[in-house]
């Protein structure tokens, strides 16, 4: 569980890299997993919890023989994923922001957003290559 401070983004990223290493992913996969967690944690802290230090970001890792499941949950007001602009659309290419979830989705095998009663839960999965 992390307080909603920007410094904690680095902690979440480092924890994800460590777990990915322990789960047996290679260096590139560790980097991708850590970056996905970084991007989603940034969103949880800044957009979800709006940098409110009283609100936490909950980070759960589950290692299985099949791979790794990561859940990141904030305590914010949720989010309408259908309103996410496509960062690859020509009109959006030069936007400064809006690539975080896109990158996390690109780096993980699965990424699902779920609005809870109090907050947003992002569930990500990375499968081990056979």
């Amino acid at each position: 569980m992390l307080e909603s401070r920007i410094e904690n983004v680095d902690r979440a990223e480092a924890a994800a890299e460590e777990v990915a290493r322990a789960a047996g992913f290679d260096v590139d996969e560790q980097h991708h997993i850590a970056m996905a967690v970084r991007e989603i944690t940034v969103n949880a802290i800044t957009h979800g919890n709006q940098l409110d230090a009283a609100k936490k970001v909950h980070l759960d890792f589950s290692i299985s023989p099949a791979g790794l499941i990561i859940e990141v949950r904030d305590e914010g007001r949720g989010f309408d994923a259908s309103k996410l602009p496509d960062p690859l659309a020509p009109d959006n290419l030069l936007r400064q922001s809006g690539r975080g979830i896109f990158l996390a989705r690109a780096f993980m095998d699965e990424l699902d957003l779920k609005n809870l009663r109090h907050g947003l839960e992002v569930r990500m999965a990375k499968r081990k290559r056979r």
Binding site: E39, V42, L93, R99, F102
Partner: protein, 115 residues
């Protein structure tokens, strides 16, 4: 941590960057450097990312912002020496189609002169 130094070669300002360009300090330093260069009238900027180990979406956004800021002033911002990780990020986000990317400093500088 980010390291940033600038030098001038044949009328082109080369910004040598090392470390991580991420949310917070790294992105802010890049933004400030570009602003300072533009304020000093430097409009031909080559950003050398050869020693950049990591860029997150915030850092990518800052590069895009730098690109548009320089262009708005009638200048050009190009990229030099992408690491594999940064190259992959630009490919995934299609930003490779936006930036003029070079892997040789001499030809990169010449490309400004030819423009």
């Amino acid at each position: 941590m980010i390291k940033m130094t600038s030098r001038r070669v044949d009328g082109v300002t080369i910004l040598d960057i090392g470390g991580r360009i991420t949310l917070g300090e790294g992105s802010t330093q890049l933004r400030d450097s570009i602003r300072q260069l533009l304020a000093a009238g430097e409009k031909r900027i080559l950003v050398n990312l050869g020693e950049v180990s990591y860029i997150d979406s915030s850092g990518l956004g800052e590069l895009v912002s730098a690109f548009t800021a320089v262009r708005a002033e009638g200048g050009e911002l190009k990229l030099l020496n992408l690491t594999r990780k940064v190259h992959d990020l630009l490919q995934i986000t299609k930003l490779y189609t936006v930036f003029d990317v070079h892997d040789d400093e001499t030809s990169a500088i010449a490309s400004f002169a030819a423009a």
